[in-house]
């Protein structure tokens, strides 16, 4: 019998440190599948963020670099400018990309850096213990918004993808989700396009992936997926933004 579902060559066969029901593992695997399918593993240089995915490189079987919190796109810019023949991507969470790294994100995108960014939006800070993210929803309770996010005090969920779509240097932005097998397939297709754009020299491409954090949402994994589908996607509509 033919084996039709294999471990991607780019994915290391180890258990991850992620919590049950977390979306990071799914997206890690999708990235590896895409890299294998595009046959670019030997050209890939990944840039890992600070946050839950800080040791993403422990699961990826290709070259990787660390970046300080928020600086992934600056590090990636340095790599890609001296190694234009390599395929360089960043993997960043909402705090890394949209809060502390907001300037690096906007300016790398505005320079039209020929890079690929995978942006994991789970509306919360995971590694530090469930604090408010720039993408936290209004009324959502977190460790630092114990009464729920209040627009008067904390502002509104930041739509960084819509912001970036305004910039001329940006080639492609899509928001996807991991709330169903179908959504995961759509996410994979988007990630593949984002890498293909870099291969084709089209400029900055980003896929924002909505991803569950059952632990800090205080929900069971199944309920977290339900909340993502029924609440989070309404605030962050899916689809191609640019």
């Amino acid at each position: 019998m033919e084996k039709i579902y294999n471990l991607p060559e780019s994915l290391i066969d180890v258990s991850t440190h992620y919590c049950p029901g977390c979306g990071h593992g799914i997206v890690h695997r999708i990235i590896c599948e895409v890299i294998d399918e595009l046959n670019i593993r030997q050209k890939i240089i990944g840039v890992a963020p600070i946050g839950c995915a800080v040791i993403a490189y422990k699961y990826w079987d290709f070259d990787c670099c660390e970046a300080a919190h928020g600086r992934a796109l600056a590090v990636a810019t340095g790599i890609k400018r001296v190694r234009p023949a390599n395929i360089v991507f960043t993997y960043q969470g909402d705090g890394d990309l949209a809060a502390i790294g907001c300037a690096e994100t906007i300016h790398a995108a505005n320079r039209g850096e020929n890079l690929t960014t995978i942006f994991i939006n789970n509306a919360i800070y995971g590694m530090t213990g469930g604090q408010m993210a720039p993408t936290t929803l209004l009324t959502q309770k977190t460790a630092t918004t114990p009464a729920g996010r209040d627009a008067k005090l904390e502002g509104y969920p930041l739509k960084i993808s819509e912001l970036l779509a305004q910039l001329e240097g940006v080639a492609y932005i899509e928001r996807t989700s991991t709330d169903s097998p179908k959504a995961v397939l759509i996410t994979k297709k988007a990630i593949k396009e984002a890498f293909q754009n870099q291969i084709d020299g089209k400029g900055f491409s980003m896929v924002e992936v909505l991803s569950p954090c059952p632990t800090y949402w205080g929900l069971k994994p199944v309920d977290a997926v339900k909340w993502m589908r029924e609440v989070m996607i309404k605030e962050f509509p899916l689809g191609r933004i640019k």
């Binding site: 593993r41 030997q42 050209k43 890939i44 240089i45 840039v47 890992a48 800080v54 040791i55 490189y57 990826w60 079987d61 290709f62 070259d63 990787c64 670099c65 660390e66 970046a67 300080a68 600086r71 600056a74 590090v75 990636a76 810019t77 340095g78 790599i79 890609k80 400018r81 001296v82 190694r83 234009p84 023949a85 390599n86 300037a103 690096e104 906007i106 300016h107």
Partner: protein, 357 residues
């Protein structure tokens, strides 16, 4: 090549290019703006990369990326900007990457002003960013030395896989002098290069296992082990890389210790004092970290006439602490310094020496 007339900032920029460096990222700040302007013009001419990033935070992170990819990389700034770069410098030190960082110091604290100062000595030599790490710090006192030490900075950065800081000041940066340009025997970096001398560089894992550049060591004991490796490495640097210039030190009754621009001004003062039959010598640290302790130890053995040591700085006493830690009370250590834009003059140094005599 013959002599060219150039300012200190441009000498550093040209030095980087002659060292084979093909990556510059830097944010404008006075008094070092000649460097990014020079690089913006020169780098594209020679197939290098010039980026004016959105901030100093981004600049140093871009340097980290380029260096992780095996390229010689430089960023330049002045005091307030260098404060912002401390985050990235700590990461670079932690990941054991080479990098050259230039600080053309201006007066602080805070925004201070754009006039020359030497008040970032602590920041440069004691770490600056978080964690147990050290920068190799070189302090040029002439435009020629600014060029020469830039060549050296890239060599040391690669040898030790460590950040090297060139610590100048606004006066040196702006001053023009004729200098002799030289090349090092190294092929400049290029975009299709795979650096054979940097097997750790990120080039894509073709025909080899993956490479990882990271400072993170989470498992129990791992970070302590890494820190002990770094400490052993720093000990080796202390042993091998002390640099200084000394003159008239063996028969002197008073030794002035001054670096960079102040070393140069102190030399002028010593010449005036010589004419007055005053026996004054100079130790000018060229490397600030590691500090040139060994020359002091030797001096204490060889010099029977030494009475006092005078430290002169454009600060209120920062290198002074390293001198005191070296002298350890064997001789009185006196201090004269100005900071905030004022530069101690030859006359002021002469007056101070005569008071001590």
């Amino acid at each position: 090549m013959g002599k060219i007339l150039i300012n200190g900032n441009e000498a550093i920029a040209e030095g980087a290019i002659r060292a084979g460096c093909r990556f510059f990222a830097g944010y404008p700040i006075t008094p070092q703006n000649e460097i990014p302007a020079y690089m913006a013009k020169r780098m594209p001419e020679i197939g290098g990369v010039f980026i004016q990033p959105e901030s100093e935070l981004a600049a140093i992170s871009m340097v980290m990326g380029a260096s992780a990819s095996g390229f010689r990389a430089i960023t330049t700034s002045s005091s307030p900007g260098v404060s912002l770069k401390q985050e990235g410098i700590s990461y670079i030190a932690g990941a054991q990457l080479p990098a050259v960082i230039v600080n053309i110091m201006r007066a602080g604290p805070g925004l201070g002003n754009i006039w020359p100062a030497q008040s970032d000595y602590f920041q440069a030599t004691k770490g600056g960013g978080h964690g147990d790490y050290r920068n190799i710090v070189l302090a040029p006192s002439t435009v020629q030395e600014a060029f020469d030490l830039t060549l050296l900075a890239f060599e040391l950065a690669d040898i030790y896989r460590n950040p090297v800081m060139i610590l100048g000041d606004g006066m040196l940066g702006q001053m023009m002098e004729p200098i002799t340009i030289s090349d090092i025997k190294r092929k400049p970096d290029s975009k299709d290069m795979v650096p054979l001398d940097k097997p750790w560089a990120l080039t894509g894992c073709r025909n080899r296992k993956l490479n990882l550049v990271a400072s993170f060591r989470m498992r129990e004991g791992e970070m302590e082990k890494r820190n002990l490796e770094l400490q052993a490495h720093y000990k080796e640097i202390v042993r091998k890389e002390q640099r200084y210039e000394a003159f008239n030190e063996k028969e002197a009754e008073i030794i002035i210790v001054a670096y960079g621009t102040m070393g140069r001004i102190a030399k002028g003062a010593i010449k005036r004092l010589e004419a007055d039959n005053k026996k004054v010598g100079l130790i000018r640290p060229i490397g600030l970290w590691p500090f040139c302790k060994d020359v002091f130890t030797k001096l204490f053995k060889d010099n029977a006439t030494l009475k006092k040591i005078l430290v002169v700085e454009m600060s209120y006493g920062q290198m002074l602490e390293d001198v005191e830690l070296t002298v350890l009370g064997r001789y009185p250590v006196e201090f004269f310094g100005r900071s905030g834009g004022g530069v101690p003059t030859e006359e002021e140094i002469v007056k101070k020496v005569l008071e001590l005599y």
